[in-house]
Symmetry: C2
Subunit: 363 residues, 2 copies
Amino acid sequence: MSEVNGTPLLNRSKQRDRMPAAHRKPTMSDVARLAGVGTMTVSRVLSGAVRVSADTAQRVQTAIEQLKYRPNELARAFRGQRSHSIGLIIPYLYDPFFANCAHAVTTVARERGYSVIITTSAEDPETEFTEAEHMLERHVDGMVVIPSRFRQTRLTRSLFGKTPVVAFDRPVQDPSLDVVLVQNTAGARRIVEHLIEHGHKRVAYMGLSRSLFTINARFLGYRRAMQEAGLRSDAAFDCNTEEDTRRLLKEKMSGKDAPTAILTSNTLATRYVLSAISHLGLRIPSDVAFAGFDDFDMAEFTAPPLTVVRQPAQEMGRVATSLLFDRIARGETPQTGNRIVLPVEIVLRRSCGCKHRNPVIMS
Amino acid sequence: MSEVNGTPLLNRSKQRDRMPAAHRKPTMSDVARLAGVGTMTVSRVLSGAVRVSADTAQRVQTAIEQLKYRPNELARAFRGQRSHSIGLIIPYLYDPFFANCAHAVTTVARERGYSVIITTSAEDPETEFTEAEHMLERHVDGMVVIPSRFRQTRLTRSLFGKTPVVAFDRPVQDPSLDVVLVQNTAGARRIVEHLIEHGHKRVAYMGLSRSLFTINARFLGYRRAMQEAGLRSDAAFDCNTEEDTRRLLKEKMSGKDAPTAILTSNTLATRYVLSAISHLGLRIPSDVAFAGFDDFDMAEFTAPPLTVVRQPAQEMGRVATSLLFDRIARGETPQTGNRIVLPVEIVLRRSCGCKHRNPVIMS
DNA sequence: AGTTCAACTGCAAGCGATTTCGGATTGTGC
DNA sequence: GCACAATCCGAAATCGCTTGCAGTTGAACT
């Protein structure tokens, strides 16, 4: 066996002399050849699982460095059963809330040595479905997703097979998937209660399309708070564009039952409403009090500083991703997934009518 | 040839009967077997490159649907030379500016049928380097990166080999990489000139660490504008934390040569400065005029609305990614890369002293 | 009718890693 | 010294797919 490699006639094409390692990336067998060992030994040194004699290991290490060998992760993922990558699907990346979620996901994944394949769904169930399929074809070890429209989702266990999936921010219909949410309803309810405590009787809710789970849940919280206070809860309006919002607000504010306070469904709605309010020349909180769902970077520097419900965006991403890694580690697919609901904070600034100079946070 | 597949005796272990396709994912040869063709034909139907007779193609399609066959993208990437994925490295995802860049990258990639592997570097050259290596090990077809600190970068052609790389927002030292930037210096210069036109003689520049390319470039623009106007340009301060900024501003504003206008280096600095200003009880623009580099969602609703330099974040991501795909398509590695500089806009709101009710955009 | 050519299809050989299995080389106890 | 176990290591088989070539067919040509 010792001199066999000197006999070229025995070479099947498999062992043919490849390019002199000039431009081709070095492979494991290049390393093995240089170190005078078998590929298996190189593999063992790399994975570190099985013991290899110190001497051999050293030779292999030297060869690796000399050749600047880098394992081909693609081959490894293909052969083994782990791709060491997870997928992440979110509606948009330009939305700071989603971006924060995504940040947490990538951070946790990196800590675990995983890559994340990211894609945006633009809230479109069809895109979302296609992208999920792509990720599955790439054999991601798991997926974290913010599902788009609840009703039309095609995200089901049968699509994912044994691949673990965690949905967050919004639930999915399939009960076997894990879900991580925040207290949308409770948060909205509490902040409306606060508005009511300020003496407001006519509070309006202005939000994006209620076909989005979170938006609807917040509306429910609004309605609940109003009803429990014995107030009318029918001042709930959809504002999907800046123009709509402006027109709508103008109409409502000049009506006889004009709202004295407004709650918005999220930052985008906040922007629309703020724009409309400033356009109408109204002042906050003297003309209308204001509260928004979802905090944002500059909420402290608007005029006046905004009272908001603060969601733990990064925390949610972290929890969802950790949960996913648990599932991946366990390797089991449960009948019913976990459902984790994270608490929100109420940040009292001045738009609600509070007078404190600095924000007060209620958790 | 027609009955050959009926003779199990010919089976070498390679063709052994695998699991009855129960829990195993169907492979191409499952499809081939069912359709009564060779795996190559299936492959050809899938890739669509070479012509296959309509009849055969139909049979294969049927088999694919019947088996719910999904090609293994990992195997495909491994075998072929294309992984159909690109890498994206950015400092943070929670920063809206970077998130916008990332959004554009993922969007363009999706349009091309590519996956994007994303990771955050936290501005750390070491992390950035390690992550780039990981992506290379995964054999991405190309990379788009926002490089961290200029001086310490380890991002060089020798690391990337033949893999195309486009740097954006900040340059890299290696001249063979493509670079897409915005007019940092010119933008800062123009907005300072505007401040000067408002009559300001003492304009301060408050920014993050100048070891970041963009921050420094903007400082240079500030200095240039001041010098050309014959004014002193030494009121340039580093403000890396909220506390620092507050202390600094307090000191400077009470000095005898207190600045009458301030330009900040980016949104984070804007926040620090805004916070300090409000803490000191100063009013904008009567006590100090204000301009910021980098627009943000709510800049219109701060008190007062902020005059800023607006960068085309998404455009930059789009251009960088398109450039990358050009390189990937061409397959050549040039000696010297392109250097594209995108124009910025000046958005005049009211913090600079302008009186218009609505923002005026100068491009 | 024989030949050429094009279109279509299949076989075999890997891509670069890991897993299985077994062989070689020690070390250990008697 | 010899049997036996433990330890270390290597050959071959694969993972699912595509590339290179060769083979088959039928139609078009001379």
